[in-house]
Subunit: 319 residues, 2 copies
């Protein structure tokens, strides 16, 4: 049985596993990224571990890697602020040398978008946008059935579309980026700001160690400020996604990650403001949906699907 | 010699001509669109005229049509406000029946983008955005060497990205759309607003019949208000294009049409504000360029290139 190794490199841990052609993910492992200051040893150790996972009936056909600041065209990680490795690291070719199989690498949100296309809710959809709402806001855009990489492999940074002129300061150095409002960090910032200016909420006693899950819980229990924070977040996201549609006119937009787990607290206001702000020709035909992928497996699955997607294309060309 | 008929359907006139594989446009004609209240007679008359243009050594291999509200997937014109025909008109199939050759149809800005790719400045560029600055702001987006049509054939409406919250009222019924600021109409509106509130300019005596060319002339001659209007327009366009890059990460952005003819009056502030507002990873590598296409031929050339592009793809698959 053919299998692909999916690797999700995070700042703290690297998760990896084997994924078959049906998207079934098994034989999962974990390695502390921070423990490896030299990427050479990281690749050596991880390659060993992956080869050790293989069962007698397995044939490893490739390795897919999802990682922040991953460059698809070059197979490199470039200046990743949260990883222990400096500068540009040619990770894909390093894995290829160690394992003898092809290795494909891209950023984690792009990988997850391909995962959604091959194994999730976008199986028959050729035009969609995938949005991850975690610490930041990541995204992948698929048009004509292909991920949009852009000329430099760095397309689809929806989190850094500036949606409010002179708005909140962003980690990127600019102002008003979507992710400063719409992300786990963004909604925490909203609640913190409102409480700091004296508004009342059950969240005020823990305002300095607030988690987005706390805001979700407070909103579910009827806290007015928490509910308004979701309305505010949904308004900004709905407006921004209405603008996004004017670029690639997707059939669906998938939301994934911590904040998307708030379900209707986020989806209801987002969809309402989305429809309200859409250009007439786009109204009532684009769905905003939760991702169909399992949260604890999406990173490995998405990474592996880079290779499966490539393989499927090859098969299509050959037949 | 193989030729393609390119048809540009405008509200007043329909221009058409024959285009060869090198993008040379000859045998041009014109028909008053408004004279035909029934599209059946329009197709009949235009088909006759096209066939009459053919020289003995010509082989007509297809017809390409650029038209506002053209739907590429269906070959239809849908509810075009400026054309004499109501509802949905299956124009492509009507031409196919009359002429016996395949007919492809899309909106005029998409057609011009493909024209730029086949015959203009984007010959070797696989990722670019094409922007037309006329009465409104039209656009076509090319990624991975393919035009992005979206799931419904209606992608790339950059003129209707809402760039200013609660900004100027747009013809589409919403507020703050890019084309209400950045287009011939938009810059006229800017100047008119400023003069109406009492600001001084050489343009004030003709403010009710202002043309964008007048503003360009006044700016060239040093009129402070006209110069500030270009700065203002360039600021909004530069900011909007910086956001656009976060979607498809193009290698170049081409500007075309009336307002782009103002050359550096528009390009200088646009590029300055573009670079200032770009996310760091995109800085200093994306060019904003004037279109290389001849203004009076772009519509016919763009329309014809729809067919040539199709033909080229076919050749590539076969070889």
């Amino acid at each position: 049985m053919k299998v692909v190794a999916g690797i999700d490199i995070g700042g703290t841990n690297t998760k990896f596993g084997l994924v078959d052609e049906q998207g079934v993910c098994s034989e999962v492992g974990c390695l502390p990224t921070k423990g490896f200051t030299d990427p050479v040893y990281f690749v050596e150790e991880l390659s060993k571990r992956i080869l050790r996972l293989l069962q007698p009936n397995h044939q490893l056909i490739g390795i897919g890697i999802g990682v922040a600041n991953g460059n698809f065209y070059k197979g490199t990680i470039e200046y990743a602020p949260n990883l222990p490795w400096q500068g540009i690291v040619p990770l894909a070719s390093m894995f290829e040398q160690k394992t003898g199989v092809p290795c494909i690498l891209t950023n984690d949100a792009n990988a997850a978008a391909i995962g959604e296309m091959l194994f999730g809710g976008a199986k028959k959809i050729r035009d969609f946008i995938f949005v991850t709402l975690g610490t930041g806001l990541g995204s992948g855009i698929v048009s004509n059935g292909q991920l949009i990489y852009g000329h430099d492999g760095l397309a689809a940074e929806l989190g850094h579309v500036m949606v409010i002129r002179n708005g909140r300061t962003c980690g990127c150095g600019r102002k008003g980026c979507l992710e400063t409002y719409v992300s786990a960090t963004g909604i925490k910032r909203t609640v913190y700001n409102w409480i700091s200016r004296g508004e009342k909420s059950v969240l005020e006693k823990d305002k300095d160690k607030l988690q987005s899950a706390d805001i979700c819980k407070a909103a579910s229990e009827g806290d007015a400020l928490a509910l308004r924070a979701f309305e505010f977040t949904g308004e900004i996201l709905g407006h921004a996604l209405a603008n996004s549609v004017a670029y690639t006119s997707p059939k669906a937009i998938f939301l994934f990650g911590g904040l998307a787990n708030a379900k209707n607290l986020l989806f209801e206001p987002t969809i309402r403001h989305f429809e309200k702000n859409l250009l007439t020709i786009y109204k009532n035909k684009i769905q905003i949906l939760p991702s169909h992928l399992e949260e604890n497996k999406v990173a490995i699955l998405g990474a592996a699907s880079l290779v499966w997607n490539q393989d499927v294309s090859t098969i299509l060309i050959e037949s």
